[in-house]
Symmetry: C2
Subunit: 416 residues, 2 copies
């Protein structure tokens, strides 16, 4: 990488912001930022027209820093600053945003600095998942309006990693395949009772009732989602077999053959895994079994602070080791773990493409800052799953008296 | 359960040992032992002819205590005392030894007393797996004589959990299927370099070379096994592609596409997981991946002290949480975990049946104490896997640049 900036005289000036020259310290800061990220193959173009990092023909994309404020906010807090500057348009990307982020994440690797530790501590204090705190945190994200999510999710409104039997199948097919995979991993039988923690818009609960004959009680603390789910269940004639409960998982009662939770653990918070484990232990019958599906990490690390502040307050993706707090104290054997990270990258690619196709509708309802923030969130998530910064763990467990399938090939057979 | 002993007047007296009556304290101790094990459905018959516990028609089997010494050794240390008394014939079982042990293990559940903590500490101090300690511990078990193992293992001498595509296939087929499953999980390609830690009699190393075109370096510190493996490789014409190295895993050098270890981690010891993890991290290429197959636990607990003293000195089955010491510090994502505990119970049933069919040959070479100790070890292991006291974890992991199979269905397809 060059250590002195080059002047990109051929750059069309209209793309840049204010045209005043960089100071010596600003040049040094841009070089330092690139070095701190282990010199990813990206090109940086400052408002002055000076360029840094990889040359255009070797760069996967170009980052335009359009003003001083954006540079300084990245210096003070690289991840938070980048997200906020991008959202308000102080930073632009020429080429693929996903590929630029992926290149940065891959270069950074498993680097863990003091910034991450401090960010994690701040997040835990700020967004504690007490009963009241969880309600506020979930409201922030999931009560944006059902319509917003309907513009870019599949028709059944599944907002979790899909399962693509082959990469070519549609998002709709992949979400159906995910629900069938979950049902088959659990050996769900007609008439069995299922409790679901964090049911989103209710697609899985309704699928298990309709296609596997289960009786499902599904918990969620998002009012908007519960309202939508109840309407759908009535419309599909499933309200006898599916009950949607607007309450916290900690208030579950009764006993069930199956516990299932797809995409909630991210919002539970490390400090509350023993709470969730004791709920599972309390509600499962002696032959009971369960499945927990969650975004995860290889090493403990707080969520990207921009995501944590603007998109998912209180969220934390656990490591497999941390997840064992759910199972080990309650003597629940883990039977199977599948890492579906590549499937989440592909799921997110579908969502991003649909989001971009709906961008005019999003613009009519929300401001440009919101529009750009959600593009960044979806793009950054793709990059995180591709680069291995995020994992997707689907963990099957069972009580000691539960008889698992003889081999996993049963997971891949469609019911007769 | 009755609290006063019944007299089994109809018992044939020749089965019992000395005929003196039980003292009051001995009666109380037998009741206490049964209560401490949560009153399993077994019948206990003392040397005096008095019986305890479940009645004959409700008991899965009967435990004969033939002398005072056996009773007192069980009182002082239930697991160690039982094993030693059984081995020298001071205890006999009428009915199925496996079912008796399984009933006890199921009744006990996850009970963890101070005895386990002390036993664990003693074992760690006594049988530390330093370089020298490992050599001595492995010699104790694996250098009993290749012929002894050939009497009851499959023809390829695999002494680890097999994989039965259906329960009906033969042990020979199931061991082949296990090796193919491992190869397919690893996406092993012709010409790739594999390093194996703890290769036993070399069956997997030779299989990967012969059927997948790999170049394998396989490490083992058991002299008897290495000698046997080298002979076999020469006989099968594989000595160009398989190198058997008589050395500790800590001395591995070079770089490899694949790391594999089937049934060694049990002998590594908790304190040395970071050593093993750093070896894996040192030898794997950037696209490298690996598989670790091991007996495990749901909760941390030392090995049964009798097994630890007489069968497997220095052994310890880890929990999944403890296994993460191999992967997490080195930023190695876990891609897949399969719990094959039911397959190990079935593998052990095959071994026990073959052992019993070879019992005359075993008696010619070893004393009766040894003959009974190995019967107890194989039977107790079946009971442990059936009751959930032991698990079998097969863990697949890969570096960040490794591309895993798109779905796990690839694990179940035979190569074209």
């Amino acid at each position: 990488m060059s250590t002195t900036p080059r002047t990109a005289s051929a750059e069309p000036r209209h793309r840049l912001g204010r045209h005043s020259a960089l100071t010596a310290i600003e040049r040094w800061l841009i070089e330092r930022l690139l070095a701190a990220k282990h010199s990813p193959p990206i090109r940086v173009l400052a408002w002055s027209g000076q360029e840094f990092g990889a040359r255009r023909d070797q760069a996967v994309a170009t980052l335009l820093i359009r003003d001083r404020r954006s540079l300084w906010s990245m210096v003070l807090s690289p991840e938070l600053g980048f997200g906020e500057a991008y959202s308000r348009g102080g930073i632009e990307v020429e080429g693929s945003l996903v590929e630029l982020l992926e290149a940065v994440y891959r270069a950074v690797g498993a680097d863990r600095g003091i910034e991450h530790k401090l960010a994690g501590l701040r997040a835990r204090l700020r967004h504690a998942n007490s009963l009241g705190g969880s309600k506020a945190n979930i409201h922030h994200h999931y009560d944006l309006g059902n319509e917003f999510y309907s513009w870019w999710l599949d028709e059944r409104m599944l907002y979790t990693c899909a399962y693509f039997p082959t990469p070519e199948v549609s998002l709709e097919q992949a979400q159906l395949a995910k629900m069938d995979l979950v049902a088959r991993k659990l050996q769900l039988q007609p008439g069995e009772r299922v409790v679901e923690a964090g049911c989103g818009w209710g697609a899985l609960a309704m699928h298990l009732a309709e296609h596997y004959g289960a009786h499902v009680r599904a918990f969620n603390i998002s009012s908007e989602q519960i309202r939508w789910a109840r309407q759908m269940a009535r419309r599909r004639g499933l309200d006898e077999r599916v009950e949607f409960v607007e309450d916290d998982y900690r208030n579950m009662s009764g006993t069930y053959d199956v516990f299932v939770s797809v995409g909630m653990l991210e919002h539970v918070g490390r400090d509350h895994y023993p709470d969730l484990g004791s709920v599972v232990n309390r509600v499962l019958t002696p032959q009971g079994r369960g499945l927990v599906h969650t975004i995860g990490r290889v090493q403990p690390r707080p969520l990207n602070p921009w995501i944590e502040k603007h998109i998912f307050p209180g969220a934390y993706p656990p490591t497999l080791r941390e997840m064992m707090d759910l199972f080990e104290p309650f003597d629940l054997p883990v039977l199977d773990v599948e890492n579906l990270r590549a499937h989440y990258a592909l799921t997110l690619e579908h969502w991003l493409a649909r989001y971009e196709r709906s961008i005019d509708r999003v613009r009519q309802r929300y401001d440009e800052n919101f529009v750009r923030a959600w593009r960044l969130y979806l793009s950054g998530s793709i990059a995180s799953f591709r680069s291995g910064h995020l994992q997707l763990f689907q963990v099957l467990f069972g009580r000691h008296d539960y008889r698992e399938t003889w081999t996993r090939q049963a997971f891949y057979r469609h019911p007769a």
